[in-house]
């Protein structure tokens, strides 16, 4: 049984039909990349899985349990499903350490010292140990995004959603963030990644989905998707990426 099941999901923003029946399964330890032009619904889909946005039709299941619609403990769901955003969204009034330990101490009931210890382990692993007492605004974009990922990981999520996490970064800072994701993938973390980094998607994912106007136009293993896509729209999208020199 797939770990994450997205079943005929529809989402409207007022009149705007953003998700038009998305079907997608993510197996445990699988890395799935969502690609597609901006406005195609990648971010919205991730936000719906995390229940930051409600869906109007269809169903989302995590580990066989329904997590969309009424009667769902969204706070419990979010402890299992971590998310990192394009704009990092660190809490600017808290130090790196406070950013990371806030949720574990307040929602998991972890003691302060345990939470700190766990945070320190993660920071050390991702080369941020000396930034623990620093405030977010004083870090580079790459460092901020790595802290944001650590913050999500500190909750020990079972699946990570990454929402264009390198799009707001200067080019030279992209690799330090992608290295973390690569690391997590090797470790077996289940991940659903919305990205514009095609090279990275090709390297790290076990399945690539091309999202177009709120539907999954085509899905398949990266080798096939990037070299022999069957859909004309996928080909067109990839052609424009190649023309821009980004693949």
């Amino acid at each position: 049984m797939p770990f994450l099941e997205i079943d005929a999901v529809h989402k409207w923003f007022g009149e705007n039909h953003v998700l038009q029946g998305v079907n997608l399964d993510v197996e445990e330890h699988q890395v799935v990349c969502l690609i597609g032009p901006s406005g195609c619904g990648k971010s919205t889909l991730l936000r719906c899985i995390n229940a930051l946005e409600p869906i109007q039709e269809g169903e989302i299941r995590v580990d066989g349990e329904r997590v969309s619609g009424r009667g769902v403990d969204v706070n419990a769901l979010r402890q299992d499903v971590g998310i990192a955003f394009q704009s990092f969204n660190l809490f600017p009034h808290m130090s790196v350490m406070q950013n990371i330990t806030l949720a574990p101490t307040k929602t998991l009931g972890m003691s302060k010292s345990d939470a700190r210890q766990r945070a320190m382990q993660l920071l050390t692993r991702f080369g941020l140990a000396e930034k623990a007492q620093e405030y977010p605004d004083r870090l580079s974009g790459g460092q901020q995004q790595r802290v944001a990922i650590v913050r999500a990981l500190a909750m020990r999520p079972r699946v990570m959603l990454l929402d264009e996490i390198t799009s707001a970064l200067d080019p030279e800072l992209v690799s330090e963030v992608l290295n973390i994701v690569r690391d997590l993938a090797h470790e077996g973390m289940t991940m659903l990644i919305a990205t514009h980094e095609m090279g990275f998607a090709r390297e790290v994912s076990s399945k690539v989905c091309f999202l177009y106007q709120g539907r999954i136009e085509e899905a398949g293993p990266p080798a096939k998707m990037f070299s022999a896509p069957s859909s004309e729209r996928t080909r067109q999208f990839l052609r424009s990426i190649i023309e821009a020199g980004r693949l």
Partner: protein, 429 residues
């Protein structure tokens, strides 16, 4: 740029020359204005100075500082009205007359150390005023130099000299405007032989009445601390209630909106009248077990809290709404509840952002404590009024004004420093 080495007919040189010429005209006007201003300025200061050592009109020599006109004692036909005869009506507490005789105080002007200090300040001001004509002169010299450089075909240097000249003109403008303001104030206070100044401020009175005023000011300090402490919590509660999501909370949300609209819209003095006079008259008031000043005090705290709670709630609301929704999304995505998101993420950031407007309302509240004097609390303004009518001089009121400034100015500077420190700690630089 290429024209700097070209002949005087080239477009670049034309540009340089035209700017230089306008500049000379401006510099000359600035010099002229500065000289005129300095003359007026010094004249005003001399006038103010002479008003300081003058005594009240009508006296050639300074008589004894005060003397008493005896009144025939009126022992009969006089009812004694005390607070006991009109129970439960604050504001009718009658101050017993201090003397049956009329005391007349005479203003003898400033003498001794006060006068010396005033002289020193005046001389320093007059010297500072010389800065304006000095810069005017500098502007003219630089403009002339700039002209000479043009005739030597050194256009780049000429333009630099012209710009230096314009900088000097700006000094004339800055200092000149300040001199205009000081001149105006000096003329106002020195007018009519210093009567305005001595009516507002006479050194004798604050020395004589400062203890009574300081003691009365403690009521204002108490009103401020009690009301401010309650306002900060109460207003946050109102602001959070206004932000509650969903339909079920609508009635309470509307109540919060109505409260803010009403108490922000009604003049503070009316709320104070209604609460401090109306509630006791209705006999169902809180604090009925207290009498006299303490009761008016707590009713005053209640009235000020209602008024300032509405203002501060709006400030909090602006702060909360200014926090980008992505912060709430990040907090919720980590599994924090709505309440925890408010408590740990939204409100701490909102409060940091609204400290300047919050301080603004804080100072305003401190000032408005004087309004409670109108419903019978003998706070600093009421006390000053009593003394005024006794002395026939407004010095006690001016002294009360100074008392209000003493805490607020250092507080403002202190909060500025706190904000600066917080920024240094959390922001990139």
């Amino acid at each position: 740029m290429t024209a700097t080495t070209a002949s005087s007919n080239a477009p670049g040189s034309r540009r340089a020359r035209s700017r230089v010429e306008t500049n000379l005209r401006g510099a000359l006007i600035a010099l002229l204005v500065a000289v005129v201003l300095e003359i007026g300025f010094v004249a005003a200061i001399i006038g103010f100075n002479s008003s300081l050592s003058h005594h009240a009109p009508g006296y050639s020599k300074c008589p004894p500082t005060s003397y008493t006109i005896p009144q025939p004692a009126q022992a009969t036909n006089r009812t004694t009205v005390t607070a006991d005869t009109v129970p439960n009506v604050p504001g009718l507490a009658v101050v017993p007359p201090k003397s049956t005789n009329i005391v007349v105080h005479v203003d003898c002007g400033v003498v001794g150390a006060g006068l010396t200090a005033a002289h020193i300040i005046e001389v320093l001001l007059a010297l500072a005023g010389l800065v304006a004509p000095a810069f005017g002169l500098l502007a003219v010299l630089r403009a002339l130099r700039s002209r000479r450089l043009v005739s030597e075909q050194r256009f780049s240097d000429a333009r630099i000299a012209a710009e230096d000249s314009r900088d000097a003109v700006w000094y004339v403008v800055g200092f000149g405007l300040a001199m205009v303001v000081v001149t105006f104030v000096a003329v106002l206070f020195a007018g009519s032989d210093g009567a305005v100044r001595s009516a507002l401020w006479n050194w004798k009175y604050p020395l004589r009445s400062r203890n009574a005023l300081l003691k009365a000011f403690l009521w204002n300090v108490g009103l401020f601390f009690a009301a401010e402490a309650i306002v900060l919590v109460w207003a946050l509660l109102i602001a959070v209630v206004r932000q509650l999501p969903g339909k079920p909370t609508r009635p309470i949300r509307w109540l919060a909106i109505a409260y803010t609209d009403v108490f922000r819209g009604v003049p503070a003095i009316i709320v104070i009248y209604l609460v401090c006079l109306g509630l006791p008259l209705g006999k169902v008031a809180p604090f009925t077990h207290l009498g006299g000043n303490p009761r008016v005090f707590w009713l005053g705290v209640l009235a000020l809290t209602m008024v300032y709670g509405a203002y501060v709630a709006e400030v909090y609301r602006a702060g909360i709404e200014s926090i980008h929704w992505s912060q709430a999304a990040a907090a919720r995505s980590l599994g924090l509840s709505q309440w925890q998101t408010y408590r740990y993420v939204i409100i701490p950031q909102a409060v940091r952002r609204i400290i300047p407007p919050l301080l603004n309302d804080c100072v305003a509240l401190q000032k408005d404590t004087a309004l409670v004097g109108f419903v019978g609390l003998i706070e600093v303004l009421s006390e000053a009024n009593l003394l005024d009518s006794h002395y026939f001089n407004l010095t006690p009121v001016t002294f009360a004004a100074v008392l209000f400034l003493i805490p607020t100015i250092p507080l403002t500077r202190y909060v500025d420093r706190l904000i600066k420190r917080e920024q240094l700690r959390t922001q990139a630089h």
